[in-house]
């Protein structure tokens, strides 16, 4: 369970998160919606300790993680996967090495076992025969899928996906969304996604939040959002 209470964050006088409170339950797929620049990525980075709130508190499984040091966070993050908006694959490693990196770092698997796991996951994301390519040789969408593979390879307990479907074609977006859902169900992990993609968010989300001007504008299941009287929300979810 992730509890965010009264989190406020200001960058150079610009208030990006303004008293945000929400709770994410274990095992659910939770989608953070909002316009570009609303503060979705910033909110996600707070949950993994890449940013610290100016005010407010973040609790993971009842534990207050706001005051943790970077060293404590490093240990904690081994149980998490994080997909960056732009992929953030290592330029100096090929696809295979990128995906294998978390395994090499945090497990004692043999080379054969690692190779098998990487092959399996490449098949899962529909990318075969690219093991030896470097990120610079891949399309944006391919990078994103490789980055997703890297994020889920350790069987994380919490999976964070920053815009997993942006830059993908509609069919691929659908496939990736379904993949994220299947992975979540299979691993029994908690998945938090930021997105602009309303259709796919509704397909897979258990609950959603809409962030507007750094505040929670709406929070609930798809059905609950659809009956909201708020004009912005209706305009946003179409």
């Amino acid at each position: 369970m992730i509890e965010i209470s009264h989190v406020t964050k200001t960058f150079n006088g610009q208030r990006v998160l303004d008293d945000v409170s929400l709770t994410i339950k274990d095992g659910e797929i939770f989608v953070i919606l909002g316009e570009s620049g609303a503060g979705k990525s910033v909110l996600l980075k707070h949950m993994v300790g890449l940013l610290k709130p100016d005010r407010g508190q973040i609790r993971l499984d009842q534990r207050d993680v706001t005051p943790l040091t970077e060293k404590e966070w490093l240990a904690l993050r081994k149980t998490m996967g994080y997909l960056f908006q732009e992929g953030a694959l290592y330029d100096f490693m090929n696809v295979f090495e990128n995906i294998a990196f978390p395994l090499e770092e945090h497990t004692s698997l043999t080379h054969e076992q690692i190779t098998k796991k990487v092959r399996d996951i490449l098949q899962l994301i529909g990318l075969q025969g690219v093991e030896q390519k470097y990120p610079a040789e891949l399309s944006g969408g391919m990078k994103k899928r490789v980055a997703l593979a890297r994020a889920i390879i350790l069987d994380s307990r919490i999976l964070f996906c920053d815009e997993p479907t942006s830059g993908l074609d509609p069919i691929r977006s659908r496939d990736i969304s379904d993949l994220i859902r299947n992975v979540t169900r299979k691993l029994h992990c908690t998945t938090i996604i930021t997105s602009h993609d309303i259709a796919n968010s509704f397909r897979i989300a258990d609950r959603l939040v809409i962030i507007k001007d750094g505040k929670v504008a709406a929070l609930g299941t798809q059905a609950e959002l659809k009956v909201s009287p708020d004009q912005f929300i209706q305009a946003f979810i179409g």
Partner: protein
């Protein structure tokens, strides 16, 4: 006035931050948190990248030193002193400084650009989200490699520079080659060699520190990478040249 104060505070904060950075890098090294495979990769990259240009400039320096020395020394009827002139100039001063300057422009710039690019494309953050310390994984190997590569390059530079002097001595000044080499070996004492290498080691720490730090704090997209890389190289030049002056004075005072 306010602006001056603000800028000074900003500057002091940056100095403090970079010192803390250096401390944490050495903290990792002291605690043995060093990835040797990464170090070897970096040593290879930095070495291969700089070796040819350093060989070329060293050869040219040795040749020029000998040519000018020949002209000047002949006026005093002391052309036999070419070998000591070339050897001492190179070992005590020119090879350490020139190699450090070229190394900053090649390997140093590469370090800042690589780390900076990783910063602006979230690879640094990604490292942290994967539970890996970016200082340990990305910075320590690069800085350690500087400490290994720069002394080796300097040694190579000295040997090639002396070879350049040899060519001039033998073919221009008609000094017997054996005599030249004998003189060279006789004139270089431990203290000359040693004083050169104190400098080299100091420059290596400076360059590694400046270039890794600038890369580590790069922001502002691809423009930022360019800006911080230029800054890293400029700082490296300035600090190498200034610290060389100070070190030379100190070394001469204590060891002569």
């Amino acid at each position: 006035m306010n602006d001056v104060i603000r800028r000074s505070v900003h500057y002091l904060a940056a100095v403090g931050d970079s010192l803390y950075f250096l401390g944490s890098v050495f903290g990792h090294i002291v605690r043995g948190r060093v990835r040797f495979v990464e170090v070897v990769k970096q040593v290879y990259e930095q070495g291969v990248q700089s070796i040819s240009i350093i060989a070329l400039t060293s050869l040219a320096s040795g040749v020029v030193l000998a040519l000018q020395g020949y002209v000047a020394l002949t006026r005093f009827g002391a052309k036999d002193a070419i070998a000591p002139l070339v050897a001492l100039s190179l070992v005590r001063e020119m090879s350490p400084v020139f190699t450090a300057l070229i190394f900053s422009g090649k390997a140093g710039a590469r370090i800042t650009a690589e780390l900076g690019t990783m910063n602006v494309s979230d690879q640094m953050l990604a490292t942290r989200t994967m539970g890996v310390d970016p200082v340990e994984f990305l910075v320590v190997p690069r800085l350690l490699a500087c400490l290994i590569v720069l002394p080796i390059l300097t040694l190579i530079s000295e040997l090639i520079g002396i070879a350049g002097g040899y060519l001039v001595a033998v073919y221009e000044a008609n000094i017997p080659g054996v005599f030249y080499l004998n003189q060279t070996l006789k004139v270089i004492h431990y203290v000359d060699f040693f004083s050169g290498f104190i400098k080299v080691f100091f420059f290596a720490v400076l360059i590694g520190w400046i270039c890794c730090y600038q890369g580590f704090v790069t922001n502002g997209g691809s423009l930022g990478v360019g800006k911080f890389t230029t800054k890293a190289v400029a700082y490296s030049y300035i600090f190498v040249i200034i610290s060389n002056t100070i070190l030379t004075k100190i070394i001469l005072t204590f060891w002569g």
